[in-house]
Symmetry: C2
Subunit: 112 residues, 2 copies
C-alpha cells in the first residue's frame, strides 16, 4: 500500500509522458488516414447524389424522398451498431449529409 501511494519517480514520469506523446502521435496519424478515406468517400457519394439530382430534375421528381430517407436511416442505425458507432451520432451524421444533398437538388431544380 505504501508503495502504491508513494509519488512516482521523476524518470518514470518522463518515460510515461514520452510514451503518451508517442501514442498520441500514432492515433493522430490513424485519424489523418481515416479523414482521407472519409473525404474521398464523401466526394464519391456527392458525385452519385449529383447524378441523382440531375435525374430527378430531368424527370420532375421531388428533390426529397421521405421513404428512401427513412430506409437509409434504419439501415444506418444497423450499420452503426455493427461498427460500434453511437447510433444517435450516425443519424445526426446522415441528416447532416442529406440536408446538404437536398440543398444541391433544390439548386438543380431552380436552375434547369
Amino acid at each position: 500500500m505504501h508503495q502504491r501511494l508513494a509519488p512516482p519517480q521523476k524518470g518514470a514520469d518522463m518515460t510515461d509522458a514520452i510514451r503518451a506523446a508517442e501514442l498520441l502521435k500514432e492515433h493522430r496519424k490513424s485519424i489523418d488516414r481515416l479523414d482521407a478515406i472519409l473525404v474521398y468517400s464523401l466526394g464519391e457519394r456527392f458525385k452519385h447524389t449529383q447524378a441523382v439530382g440531375k435525374l430527378k430534375a430531368k424527370h420532375d421528381l421531388p428533390p426529397s424522398d421521405p421513404a428512401r430517407e427513412a430506409a437509409q436511416i434504419a439501415r444506418l442505425e444497423d450499420l452503426a451498431k455493427q461498427a460500434d458507432l453511437d447510433t444517435a451520432f450516425a443519424k445526426k451524421f446522415l441528416n447532416f449529409i442529406i440536408a446538404e444533398v437536398i440543398q444541391h437538388h433544390q439548386q438543380h431544380q431552380s436552375q434547369p
Copy 2:
C-alpha cells in the same frame, strides 16, 4: 427544328423513364455502399479519438487543441480539392465531427 419541338412518342417516354429508374437504383446502391464505408470509418475514427481523449485526461492535457485543429482543417481542404469535394462542405464536416469529439473529451475530463 420542327423535329426537336415535336412531343416525344409515348413509347420513347416510357423507355426513358424506365432507364432513369434503373440509373437511380444503381446510384442508390453505390450510395448505400459508400454509407457503409463512411459509418465503419467513423466508428474507427471515434475509437482513436476516444483513446486520445483518455490519454489527454490521464496527462491533464486540454480537450481541444487549436493548433492541431488548424492543421487538420488545412489538410482537409487540400484533400477535398483532390477529391473534387466542396471545400466549404469539407470544413463544415470536420467541424461537425470535431464538435462531437470535444464533447466526448469533456465527458472524459469530468468523469475521471
